[in-house]
Assembly symmetry: D2
Homo-oligomer: 171 residues x 4
């Protein structure tokens, strides 16, 4: 069977944070996405990696959100779907920006992230990446976040900081 | 937001095998499904556990397949979807049986399993369970297998023994 | 066979740091030592937990070092040995303080710690705790650090910051 | 500091068993010892690997025990110590054979094994290998088993099958 070609745009965020034992902090330095991908069995997709930036999303500028949105829109025109790995704090801004700039993309665009870095035993990174890579294959064209066993469609999605996940504005 | 009520029917298979250190073998004795569920963040579903049997699917009888199919059909009528955890060797038989007995169930019925038990470091069990619990929320009514980053719709699905996964007959 | 009674004095440090997903930092808040102990098979020792403090050792005062040293000296008089879990940055100060205050304790006193918290997949915490709990049973009375497959005797031990481990002053 | 040169003789056993997903069984086929060694920080020893055999110890012949004993005796004469990875069912036979053939070897010879293969999440393999690689550095010349936080000296050690560990005959 033919695998779907999926663009995987990485932008940083908690999901990609790694531990530096000299300073004792978790930071966005090298991408662990390839390690995560290698630990999954991917029979449905052929992943095309687009390493756009590696930032804590709290440090993203308006230009960053626009760059990610434009890249997602372009890639949705030439692939079978787009997954975006993103910091959760500003993930919703990027989701809304894609809708504002692109409207309905030609294929599904699915954002995801994590509350606990991959390097932690109790990470949610693998669950969320798994969900995004599955959802992108079965969802209709549109912009979504897939995370914590939930798919929500933009516009109208916000981070629920108290519960550490996403919800609908009209929740 | 309201969570979807999902029936999780467990029947055994590699995904649930545990290690007995006295005999040194992996067998279906106690279910580790609850441990797996506890390790995931489930914001989209409310799981209702239905522990139907705990068998290596190679030992399933025709009656077993029918019992699973009937249970899945019934639960699809009273919940928002059904996930079935199943041994991979006979998973396709059960999928076809559901289609034969139920036709198109009222909600999505998603089968899944694993090639390597949850107790192994390199298990595919969490990936597959994650995919099934996500897919059941977004798929149209029908019978599917979700596993290894792939969703396939019955009828017409078979195990590809050489590659250790599922494929379409007309693949 | 009779198990040795070992006092396990916890003082904090990287080995006990846990991740707070709201702030996104690793800090000394709750002790994960009991989780670590539960994951080991301890047939040789009966552990008596002494939770003295839970600090990054960079924040330890002179009084803290003295308190730990006095407690270690006292416990060595009433048990079969003492293990101290400690931040690595100031572990050597505490080791030297014990020697200065107690000289040769009545039983072995073994300090240990970690460069990468237990909560990380790639932690060295379990290795080091395992080594300390084994070493305390077989070493002669004295003060030691056991970590990274190495046992070093105080006085004369320093942290080798570049290599992220301990070494002898006389190298 | 100079690292001790340690011969690591591997003979198989549960500790080295790996999972074959086609047959669904755990067997001694490839050695995972190198993966285990790479996951530890070994600052005290320089390991010299001696891959002697890879057998379930229930299948060892009298010649096998003798071969292991003679190899251990020889290696103890030219290194700073010997660690032997062994199936637990016949580990005690090999320990007694070394004492019978070699008496007190020139350096410590430490046997170890595991009740649950390394490939399982809940393995005791890393704990036991860690203990053996630490114990071999600090023990006086003699033949020992180090496992489950316990060091026992041959002769006079037997497997306690009910408790899944080792004990002294005069226990």
């Amino acid at each position: 069977m033919t695998k779907r070609r999926i663009a995987l745009i990485s932008t940083g965020g908690t999901i990609e944070k790694t531990y530096d034992e000299l300073s004792g902090v978790l930071a966005n330095q090298v991408s662990v996405l390839d390690v995560m991908l290698a630990s999954l069995e991917l029979r449905g997709v052929e992943v095309q990696r687009v390493a756009l930036m590696n930032k804590d999303s709290l440090e993203m500028t308006a230009d960053d959100h626009t760059l990610i949105a434009e890249t997602a829109g372009s890639m949705a025109g030439v692939t079978d779907g787009v997954v975006i790995v993103h910091g959760t704090d500003r993930l919703a801004e990027t989701g809304e920006r894609i809708v504002a700039l692109v409207g309905t993309p030609r294929k599904a665009v699915v954002l995801t992230g994590a509350m606990r870095p991959y390097e932690l035993r109790a990470t949610d990174a693998l669950q969320n990446l798994t969900e995004a890579l599955l959802a992108v294959q079965v969802l209709a064209p549109g912009v979504y976040v897939a995370m914590h066993n939930q798919v929500l469609k933009f516009p109208g999605v916000v981070k629920d900081k108290d519960r550490g996940t996403f919800t609908r504005v009209d929740g």
